[in-house]
Protein backbone atom coordinates (compact mmCIF):
# COMPACT_ATOMS: atom_id res chain seq x y z
CA UNK A 1 0.00 0.00 0.00
CA UNK A 2 1.48 3.36 -1.04
CA UNK A 3 2.23 5.55 1.92
CA UNK A 4 4.05 8.83 2.20
CA UNK A 5 5.78 9.41 5.45
CA UNK A 6 8.27 12.03 6.59
CA UNK A 7 10.94 10.65 8.87
CA UNK A 8 13.53 12.91 10.46
CA UNK A 9 12.73 15.55 7.89
CA UNK A 10 13.01 13.30 4.84
CA UNK A 11 9.97 12.31 2.81
CA UNK A 12 9.65 8.65 1.91
CA UNK A 13 7.18 7.16 -0.54
CA UNK A 14 6.96 3.53 0.43
CA UNK A 15 4.86 0.59 -0.65
CA UNK A 16 4.13 -1.26 2.57
CA UNK A 17 2.35 -4.41 3.60
CA UNK A 18 -0.67 -3.19 5.61
CA UNK A 19 0.49 -5.47 8.42
CA UNK A 20 3.80 -3.66 8.77
CA UNK A 21 4.01 -1.76 12.01
CA UNK A 22 5.46 1.72 12.04
CA UNK A 23 8.30 0.14 14.03
CA UNK A 24 9.07 -2.45 11.37
CA UNK A 25 8.82 0.12 8.60
CA UNK A 26 11.42 2.23 10.37
CA UNK A 27 13.71 -0.70 11.15
CA UNK A 28 13.38 -2.86 8.07
CA UNK A 29 11.99 -0.58 5.39
CA UNK A 30 13.93 2.59 6.10
CA UNK A 31 16.92 0.99 7.85
CA UNK A 32 16.52 3.21 10.89
CA UNK A 33 17.33 0.60 13.49
CA UNK A 34 17.80 3.03 16.36
CA UNK A 35 14.18 2.50 17.33
CA UNK A 36 14.10 -0.78 19.24
CA UNK A 37 11.75 -3.73 19.42
CA UNK A 38 11.58 -4.87 23.01
CA UNK A 39 8.14 -6.41 23.35
CA UNK A 40 6.20 -5.51 20.18
CA UNK A 41 3.07 -5.06 22.32
CA UNK A 42 3.26 -1.60 23.87
CA UNK A 43 4.46 -2.98 27.18
CA UNK A 44 8.04 -1.68 27.31
CA UNK A 45 8.40 1.63 25.47
CA UNK A 46 11.64 0.76 23.64
CA UNK A 47 9.97 1.68 20.33
CA UNK A 48 8.90 5.16 21.40
CA UNK A 49 9.05 7.72 18.59
CA UNK A 50 7.56 11.16 18.07
CA UNK A 51 4.75 11.39 15.53
CA UNK A 52 3.81 14.96 14.72
CA UNK A 53 5.64 15.86 17.92
CA UNK A 54 3.77 13.40 20.14
CA UNK A 55 5.37 10.29 21.61
CA UNK A 56 3.77 6.95 20.81
CA UNK A 57 4.70 3.27 20.72
CA UNK A 58 5.71 2.59 17.11
CA UNK A 59 4.99 -1.13 17.59
CA UNK A 60 1.27 -0.59 18.13
CA UNK A 61 0.71 1.48 15.03
CA UNK A 62 0.53 0.40 11.42
CA UNK A 63 2.74 2.19 8.95
CA UNK A 64 -0.27 2.76 6.69
CA UNK A 65 -1.95 4.73 9.48
CA UNK A 66 0.77 7.35 9.17
CA UNK A 67 0.34 8.54 5.61
CA UNK A 68 1.36 12.19 5.65
CA UNK A 69 2.68 12.11 9.20
CA UNK A 70 6.02 13.47 10.36
CA UNK A 71 8.00 11.03 12.47
CA UNK A 72 11.09 11.79 14.51
CA UNK A 73 13.25 8.92 15.73
CA UNK A 74 16.35 8.87 17.88
CA UNK A 75 18.40 9.26 14.70
CA UNK A 76 16.72 12.59 14.03
CA UNK A 77 17.42 14.38 17.29
CA UNK A 78 21.04 15.45 17.05
CA UNK A 79 22.17 18.35 14.87
CA UNK A 80 25.13 16.85 13.12
CA UNK A 81 27.76 16.18 15.76
CA UNK A 82 25.89 18.21 18.35
CA UNK A 83 23.76 15.95 20.51
CA UNK A 84 20.23 16.92 21.48
CA UNK A 85 20.22 18.20 25.09
CA UNK A 86 18.36 15.07 26.19
CA UNK A 87 20.92 12.81 24.51
CA UNK A 88 23.77 14.76 26.07
CA UNK A 89 22.10 14.57 29.48
CA UNK A 90 21.70 10.79 29.18
CA UNK A 91 25.37 10.50 28.35
CA UNK A 92 26.49 12.79 31.16
CA UNK A 93 24.31 11.19 33.83
CA UNK A 94 24.98 7.61 32.66
CA UNK A 95 21.25 7.13 32.21
CA UNK A 96 21.62 3.79 30.44
CA UNK A 97 23.64 0.62 30.62
CA UNK A 98 22.91 -1.92 27.89
CA UNK A 99 21.44 0.89 25.81
CA UNK A 100 18.59 -1.05 24.28
CA UNK A 101 15.76 0.92 25.89
CA UNK A 102 17.71 4.16 25.50
CA UNK A 103 16.42 5.49 22.15
CA UNK A 104 12.88 5.02 23.46
CA UNK A 105 13.74 6.64 26.77
CA UNK A 106 15.28 9.61 24.98
CA UNK A 107 12.37 10.10 22.57
CA UNK A 108 10.06 9.71 25.53
CA UNK A 109 11.89 12.39 27.49
CA UNK A 110 11.76 14.75 24.51
CA UNK A 111 8.02 14.18 24.33
CA UNK A 112 7.71 14.63 28.08
CA UNK A 113 9.30 18.06 28.05
CA UNK A 114 6.87 19.21 25.39
CA UNK A 115 3.90 17.78 27.29
CA UNK A 116 4.89 19.55 30.47
CA UNK A 117 5.42 22.79 28.56
CA UNK A 118 1.91 22.35 27.18
CA UNK A 119 0.56 21.92 30.70
CA UNK A 120 -0.64 18.35 30.30
CA UNK A 121 -1.20 16.68 33.67
CA UNK A 122 -0.11 13.24 34.80
CA UNK A 123 -1.15 10.91 37.55
CA UNK A 124 1.47 12.56 39.73
CA UNK A 125 -0.05 16.02 39.28
CA UNK A 126 -1.37 17.02 42.67
CA UNK A 127 -3.67 19.80 41.53
CA UNK A 128 -5.38 19.23 38.20
CA UNK A 129 -6.50 22.84 38.06
CA UNK A 130 -3.10 24.29 38.74
CA UNK A 131 -0.02 24.65 36.59
CA UNK A 132 2.13 21.58 35.96
CA UNK A 133 5.60 21.70 37.47
CA UNK A 134 8.28 19.17 36.71
CA UNK A 135 8.86 17.56 40.09
CA UNK A 136 10.81 14.33 40.48
CA UNK A 137 7.51 12.52 41.03
CA UNK A 138 6.23 13.93 37.74
CA UNK A 139 9.31 12.76 35.85
CA UNK A 140 9.13 9.29 37.37
CA UNK A 141 5.46 8.84 36.54
CA UNK A 142 5.75 10.29 33.04
CA UNK A 143 8.76 8.09 32.24
CA UNK A 144 7.06 4.95 33.52
CA UNK A 145 6.07 3.87 30.04
CA UNK A 146 9.71 3.06 29.33
CA UNK A 147 11.02 0.01 31.14
CA UNK A 148 14.75 -0.13 31.76
CA UNK A 149 15.67 -3.61 32.94
CA UNK A 150 19.22 -2.49 33.69
CA UNK A 151 17.31 -0.18 36.01
CA UNK A 152 19.04 3.11 35.33
CA UNK A 153 16.02 4.94 36.74
CA UNK A 154 17.89 7.19 39.22
CA UNK A 155 20.23 8.22 36.42
CA UNK A 156 17.36 8.70 33.95
CA UNK A 157 15.66 10.95 36.47
CA UNK A 158 18.83 13.00 36.78
CA UNK A 159 19.17 13.17 33.00
CA UNK A 160 15.63 14.40 32.44
CA UNK A 161 16.09 16.94 35.20
CA UNK A 162 19.32 18.11 33.59
CA UNK A 163 17.75 18.33 30.15
CA UNK A 164 14.76 20.20 31.52
CA UNK A 165 17.13 22.67 33.11
CA UNK A 166 18.97 23.12 29.84
CA UNK A 167 15.69 23.66 28.01
CA UNK A 168 14.44 26.20 30.56
Amino acid sequence: MLTTIRVNGVDHDVDVDPRTSLLDLLREGLDLKGTKKGCDHGQCGACTVLVNGVRINACLSLAVMHDGDAVVTVEGLASGELLHPVQQAFLTEDAFQCGYCTPGQICSAVGLLAEVAAGQPSEATADLDGPVTLTDAEIRERMSGNICRCSAYPQILAAVRRAAGAAA
Binding site: M1, P18, R19, S21, D40, H41, G42, G45, T48, V54, R55, I56, N57, L60, S61, L62, V64, M65, D67, S108, G111, L112, E115, A118, G119, Q120, P121, S122, E123, T125, L128, D129, E141, R142, S144, G145, N146, I147
Partner: protein, 314 residues
Protein backbone atom coordinates in the same frame (compact mmCIF):
# COMPACT_ATOMS: atom_id res chain seq x y z
CA UNK B 1 -0.68 -11.26 11.94
CA UNK B 2 -3.14 -12.55 9.37
CA UNK B 3 -3.33 -10.59 6.14
CA UNK B 4 -6.14 -8.04 5.95
CA UNK B 5 -7.42 -5.29 3.71
CA UNK B 6 -6.83 -1.77 4.92
CA UNK B 7 -9.05 1.10 4.04
CA UNK B 8 -9.05 4.64 5.29
CA UNK B 9 -12.54 6.02 5.79
CA UNK B 10 -13.15 9.36 4.06
CA UNK B 11 -16.02 10.24 6.34
CA UNK B 12 -18.41 8.60 8.77
CA UNK B 13 -20.80 7.45 6.04
CA UNK B 14 -17.94 5.87 4.14
CA UNK B 15 -16.78 4.05 7.29
CA UNK B 16 -20.27 2.77 7.97
CA UNK B 17 -20.90 1.65 4.42
CA UNK B 18 -17.61 -0.24 4.36
CA UNK B 19 -18.48 -1.93 7.63
CA UNK B 20 -21.92 -2.88 6.37
CA UNK B 21 -20.50 -4.88 3.48
CA UNK B 22 -17.44 -6.34 5.23
CA UNK B 23 -18.27 -9.22 7.55
CA UNK B 24 -15.79 -9.38 10.40
CA UNK B 25 -14.32 -5.97 9.67
CA UNK B 26 -13.11 -3.81 12.52
CA UNK B 27 -12.92 -0.08 12.92
CA UNK B 28 -9.37 1.01 13.67
CA UNK B 29 -8.77 4.18 15.67
CA UNK B 30 -5.64 4.34 17.85
CA UNK B 31 -5.06 0.64 17.43
CA UNK B 32 -3.34 0.16 20.78
CA UNK B 33 -5.55 -2.77 21.76
CA UNK B 34 -6.70 -4.12 18.40
CA UNK B 35 -3.21 -4.36 16.86
CA UNK B 36 -1.89 -5.94 20.04
CA UNK B 37 -4.50 -8.68 19.69
CA UNK B 38 -4.00 -9.04 15.93
CA UNK B 39 -0.31 -9.73 16.43
CA UNK B 40 -1.28 -12.61 18.70
CA UNK B 41 -3.88 -13.69 16.11
CA UNK B 42 -6.54 -13.38 18.78
CA UNK B 43 -8.24 -10.90 16.49
CA UNK B 44 -8.16 -11.82 12.80
CA UNK B 45 -10.26 -9.22 11.01
CA UNK B 46 -10.21 -9.55 7.21
CA UNK B 47 -10.54 -5.78 6.90
CA UNK B 48 -9.58 -2.75 8.94
CA UNK B 49 -11.49 0.45 8.44
CA UNK B 50 -9.25 3.27 9.61
CA UNK B 51 -11.48 5.86 11.23
CA UNK B 52 -8.58 7.57 12.96
CA UNK B 53 -8.77 10.76 10.92
CA UNK B 54 -12.50 11.34 11.03
CA UNK B 55 -13.39 14.66 12.64
CA UNK B 56 -14.68 13.16 15.86
CA UNK B 57 -12.18 14.46 18.38
CA UNK B 58 -13.91 17.57 19.70
CA UNK B 59 -14.58 18.08 23.37
CA UNK B 60 -17.43 20.54 23.81
CA UNK B 61 -19.96 21.58 26.39
CA UNK B 62 -23.53 20.48 25.75
CA UNK B 63 -26.62 22.61 25.95
CA UNK B 64 -27.58 20.77 29.10
CA UNK B 65 -24.43 21.75 30.91
CA UNK B 66 -22.63 18.48 30.31
CA UNK B 67 -19.75 17.54 28.09
CA UNK B 68 -19.59 15.82 24.74
CA UNK B 69 -16.33 14.05 24.05
CA UNK B 70 -15.71 12.92 20.49
CA UNK B 71 -14.95 9.23 20.17
CA UNK B 72 -11.59 9.97 18.58
CA UNK B 73 -10.38 12.33 21.28
CA UNK B 74 -7.21 10.73 22.61
CA UNK B 75 -6.98 9.75 26.24
CA UNK B 76 -4.37 12.47 26.65
CA UNK B 77 -6.60 15.10 25.08
CA UNK B 78 -9.46 14.23 27.42
CA UNK B 79 -7.35 14.13 30.57
CA UNK B 80 -5.69 17.42 29.59
CA UNK B 81 -8.89 19.25 28.75
CA UNK B 82 -9.48 22.09 31.23
CA UNK B 83 -13.21 21.37 31.35
CA UNK B 84 -12.59 17.74 32.23
CA UNK B 85 -9.92 18.60 34.77
CA UNK B 86 -12.01 21.14 36.61
CA UNK B 87 -15.45 19.56 36.44
CA UNK B 88 -14.77 15.83 36.06
CA UNK B 89 -11.46 15.37 37.88
CA UNK B 90 -12.26 11.73 38.71
CA UNK B 91 -12.43 11.05 34.97
CA UNK B 92 -9.12 12.80 34.32
CA UNK B 93 -7.54 10.82 37.15
CA UNK B 94 -8.91 7.53 35.89
CA UNK B 95 -7.56 8.14 32.39
CA UNK B 96 -4.15 9.20 33.71
CA UNK B 97 -3.95 5.97 35.71
CA UNK B 98 -4.22 3.87 32.57
CA UNK B 99 -1.34 2.56 30.47
CA UNK B 100 1.52 4.93 29.74
CA UNK B 101 1.73 8.39 28.22
CA UNK B 102 2.68 6.82 24.89
CA UNK B 103 -0.42 4.64 24.92
CA UNK B 104 -2.68 7.46 26.08
CA UNK B 105 -1.36 9.69 23.30
CA UNK B 106 -2.62 7.14 20.78
CA UNK B 107 -5.60 5.50 22.44
CA UNK B 108 -8.99 7.06 21.88
CA UNK B 109 -12.14 7.30 23.96
CA UNK B 110 -14.04 5.06 21.57
CA UNK B 111 -11.23 2.54 21.42
CA UNK B 112 -10.88 2.52 25.17
CA UNK B 113 -14.56 1.61 25.48
CA UNK B 114 -14.10 -1.20 22.96
CA UNK B 115 -10.96 -2.68 24.47
CA UNK B 116 -11.08 -6.35 25.30
CA UNK B 117 -10.16 -8.14 28.49
CA UNK B 118 -6.50 -8.68 29.39
CA UNK B 119 -7.19 -12.00 31.07
CA UNK B 120 -3.89 -13.87 30.49
CA UNK B 121 -5.74 -16.92 29.21
CA UNK B 122 -7.64 -14.82 26.68
CA UNK B 123 -4.33 -13.28 25.59
CA UNK B 124 -2.74 -16.68 24.94
CA UNK B 125 -4.16 -18.32 21.83
CA UNK B 126 -2.87 -21.71 22.98
CA UNK B 127 -5.17 -21.85 25.99
CA UNK B 128 -8.85 -22.73 26.20
CA UNK B 129 -10.99 -19.60 26.46
CA UNK B 130 -14.69 -19.28 25.80
CA UNK B 131 -14.36 -15.62 24.99
CA UNK B 132 -11.80 -16.29 22.29
CA UNK B 133 -12.96 -19.70 21.12
CA UNK B 134 -16.55 -20.42 22.18
CA UNK B 135 -16.94 -23.83 23.74
CA UNK B 136 -13.24 -24.38 24.40
CA UNK B 137 -13.63 -23.84 28.12
CA UNK B 138 -12.41 -21.28 30.63
CA UNK B 139 -8.81 -21.60 31.78
CA UNK B 140 -9.11 -18.68 34.15
CA UNK B 141 -11.74 -20.26 36.38
CA UNK B 142 -9.20 -22.66 37.94
CA UNK B 143 -6.18 -20.70 36.83
CA UNK B 144 -3.55 -18.49 38.38
CA UNK B 145 -4.80 -15.07 37.36
CA UNK B 146 -5.27 -12.74 40.29
CA UNK B 147 -7.84 -10.44 38.70
CA UNK B 148 -11.11 -12.31 38.27
CA UNK B 149 -14.66 -11.04 38.24
CA UNK B 150 -16.47 -10.64 41.55
CA UNK B 151 -19.73 -9.61 39.91
CA UNK B 152 -21.67 -10.79 36.90
CA UNK B 153 -19.46 -13.71 35.90
CA UNK B 154 -20.88 -16.89 34.42
CA UNK B 155 -19.78 -20.49 34.21
CA UNK B 156 -18.42 -19.60 30.80
CA UNK B 157 -16.24 -16.61 31.63
CA UNK B 158 -14.86 -14.81 34.62
CA UNK B 159 -12.83 -12.11 32.87
CA UNK B 160 -12.89 -8.44 33.77
CA UNK B 161 -12.84 -5.26 31.74
CA UNK B 162 -9.40 -3.62 31.89
CA UNK B 163 -10.65 -0.08 31.27
CA UNK B 164 -9.96 2.49 33.98
CA UNK B 165 -11.63 5.30 32.06
CA UNK B 166 -14.94 3.53 31.75
CA UNK B 167 -15.18 3.12 35.53
CA UNK B 168 -15.18 6.88 35.94
CA UNK B 169 -17.52 7.29 32.96
CA UNK B 170 -19.96 4.88 34.61
CA UNK B 171 -19.85 6.91 37.81
CA UNK B 172 -20.74 9.99 35.77
CA UNK B 173 -23.66 8.21 34.07
CA UNK B 174 -21.99 8.73 30.71
CA UNK B 175 -23.71 7.74 27.50
CA UNK B 176 -22.10 6.53 24.28
CA UNK B 177 -23.70 7.82 21.10
CA UNK B 178 -23.43 5.49 18.15
CA UNK B 179 -24.52 5.44 14.54
CA UNK B 180 -25.18 2.60 12.11
CA UNK B 181 -25.02 2.36 8.36
CA UNK B 182 -28.76 2.89 8.08
CA UNK B 183 -28.30 6.22 9.80
CA UNK B 184 -29.92 5.19 13.05
CA UNK B 185 -28.40 6.83 16.09
CA UNK B 186 -28.44 5.12 19.44
CA UNK B 187 -27.54 6.25 22.91
CA UNK B 188 -26.17 3.53 25.14
CA UNK B 189 -25.16 3.79 28.75
CA UNK B 190 -21.42 3.24 29.16
CA UNK B 191 -22.23 1.20 32.23
CA UNK B 192 -24.04 -1.44 30.20
CA UNK B 193 -22.26 -1.07 26.88
CA UNK B 194 -20.41 -4.26 27.65
CA UNK B 195 -22.49 -7.40 28.14
CA UNK B 196 -22.04 -9.70 31.03
CA UNK B 197 -20.67 -13.00 29.75
CA UNK B 198 -23.68 -15.22 30.30
CA UNK B 199 -23.74 -17.99 27.73
CA UNK B 200 -21.97 -15.96 25.06
CA UNK B 201 -18.78 -14.43 26.46
CA UNK B 202 -17.39 -14.10 22.94
CA UNK B 203 -19.75 -11.16 22.37
CA UNK B 204 -18.34 -8.22 24.28
CA UNK B 205 -20.97 -5.59 23.56
CA UNK B 206 -24.40 -5.10 22.06
CA UNK B 207 -22.98 -2.98 19.27
CA UNK B 208 -23.82 -4.13 15.75
CA UNK B 209 -20.90 -4.81 13.40
CA UNK B 210 -21.64 -1.62 11.49
CA UNK B 211 -22.15 0.49 14.60
CA UNK B 212 -19.61 3.21 15.26
CA UNK B 213 -19.19 5.16 18.48
CA UNK B 214 -19.39 8.87 17.69
CA UNK B 215 -19.06 10.41 21.10
CA UNK B 216 -19.44 9.99 24.81
CA UNK B 217 -21.73 12.40 26.59
CA UNK B 218 -21.37 13.28 30.21
CA UNK B 219 -24.27 14.85 32.07
CA UNK B 220 -23.37 17.74 34.34
CA UNK B 221 -21.24 16.48 37.21
CA UNK B 222 -23.32 15.52 40.21
CA UNK B 223 -23.35 17.47 43.43
CA UNK B 224 -20.83 16.31 45.98
CA UNK B 225 -17.24 15.23 45.90
CA UNK B 226 -15.38 13.08 43.43
CA UNK B 227 -12.63 10.58 44.01
CA UNK B 228 -10.74 7.92 42.13
CA UNK B 229 -8.22 5.32 43.16
CA UNK B 230 -6.60 2.36 41.46
CA UNK B 231 -4.83 -0.49 43.25
CA UNK B 232 -1.90 -2.26 41.63
CA UNK B 233 1.25 -4.09 42.54
CA UNK B 234 3.45 -1.81 40.46
CA UNK B 235 3.26 1.94 40.92
CA UNK B 236 2.45 2.64 37.27
CA UNK B 237 1.97 1.14 33.79
CA UNK B 238 -0.08 -1.84 34.83
CA UNK B 239 -3.69 -2.90 35.07
CA UNK B 240 -5.85 -2.45 38.12
CA UNK B 241 -6.29 -5.13 40.76
CA UNK B 242 -9.31 -3.02 41.63
CA UNK B 243 -10.39 0.56 41.16
CA UNK B 244 -13.14 2.80 42.46
CA UNK B 245 -14.64 5.98 41.07
CA UNK B 246 -17.03 8.08 43.12
CA UNK B 247 -18.99 11.01 41.77
CA UNK B 248 -21.41 12.53 44.23
CA UNK B 249 -23.62 9.71 45.43
CA UNK B 250 -22.63 7.37 42.61
CA UNK B 251 -20.05 4.64 43.01
CA UNK B 252 -18.44 2.52 40.28
CA UNK B 253 -15.99 -0.34 40.72
CA UNK B 254 -13.34 -1.38 38.24
CA UNK B 255 -11.59 -4.65 37.42
CA UNK B 256 -14.35 -6.59 39.17
CA UNK B 257 -16.69 -7.42 36.26
CA UNK B 258 -16.85 -7.63 32.49
CA UNK B 259 -18.09 -4.05 32.58
CA UNK B 260 -17.57 -1.06 34.84
CA UNK B 261 -19.61 -2.06 37.86
CA UNK B 262 -22.02 0.46 39.27
CA UNK B 263 -22.32 -0.32 42.96
CA UNK B 264 -26.08 0.12 43.18
CA UNK B 265 -26.38 -1.62 46.52
CA UNK B 266 -23.74 0.64 47.97
CA UNK B 267 -25.43 3.70 46.50
CA UNK B 268 -28.78 2.63 47.96
CA UNK B 269 -27.21 2.08 51.35
CA UNK B 270 -25.59 5.51 51.24
CA UNK B 271 -28.93 7.03 50.35
CA UNK B 272 -30.33 5.34 53.44
CA UNK B 273 -27.69 6.93 55.60
CA UNK B 274 -25.20 4.09 55.77
CA UNK B 275 -21.54 4.79 56.45
CA UNK B 276 -19.04 4.30 53.64
CA UNK B 277 -17.91 1.04 55.23
CA UNK B 278 -21.48 -0.20 55.54
CA UNK B 279 -22.23 0.79 51.97
CA UNK B 280 -19.16 -1.02 50.67
CA UNK B 281 -20.08 -4.10 52.68
CA UNK B 282 -23.61 -3.98 51.24
CA UNK B 283 -22.22 -4.06 47.71
CA UNK B 284 -19.79 -6.86 48.40
CA UNK B 285 -22.52 -8.99 49.95
CA UNK B 286 -23.47 -10.16 46.48
CA UNK B 287 -19.91 -10.64 45.27
CA UNK B 288 -18.72 -14.12 44.39
CA UNK B 289 -15.06 -14.95 44.51
CA UNK B 290 -12.01 -15.13 46.63
CA UNK B 291 -12.24 -13.52 50.07
CA UNK B 292 -9.06 -11.51 49.66
CA UNK B 293 -10.36 -9.87 46.49
CA UNK B 294 -13.60 -9.06 48.20
CA UNK B 295 -11.81 -7.56 51.19
CA UNK B 296 -9.68 -5.40 48.90
CA UNK B 297 -12.67 -4.02 47.02
CA UNK B 298 -14.69 -3.52 50.20
CA UNK B 299 -11.93 -1.61 51.94
CA UNK B 300 -11.05 0.40 48.85
CA UNK B 301 -14.64 1.33 48.08
CA UNK B 302 -15.26 2.43 51.66
CA UNK B 303 -12.13 4.56 51.66
CA UNK B 304 -12.76 6.21 48.32
CA UNK B 305 -16.37 6.99 49.23
CA UNK B 306 -15.16 8.53 52.46
CA UNK B 307 -12.52 10.47 50.58
CA UNK B 308 -15.07 11.86 48.12
CA UNK B 309 -17.37 12.89 50.95
CA UNK B 310 -14.60 14.63 52.83
CA UNK B 311 -13.72 16.46 49.66
CA UNK B 312 -10.10 15.44 49.96
CA UNK B 313 -9.97 15.38 46.20
CA UNK B 314 -8.64 12.43 44.33
Amino acid sequence: MKPFAFERARDVDHALSLAAVSPGARFLAGGTNLLDLMKLEIEQPPRLIDVGRLPLADIAETAGGGLRIGALATNTAVASDPKVRSRYPALARAILAGGSVQLRNKATVGGNLMQRTRCPYFMDAAKPCNKRLPGSGCSAMDGLSSTLALFGASEMCIAVSPSDMSVALAAFDAVAETVRADGSVQRRSVETLHRLPGEAPQVDTDLAPDELILAVELPPPPEGGQAWRKVRARASYTGALASVAVAGDRVALGAVAARPWRARAAEAALADGASPAEAAAAELASAEGEDGRKALVRRLAADVIRQAREGVGS
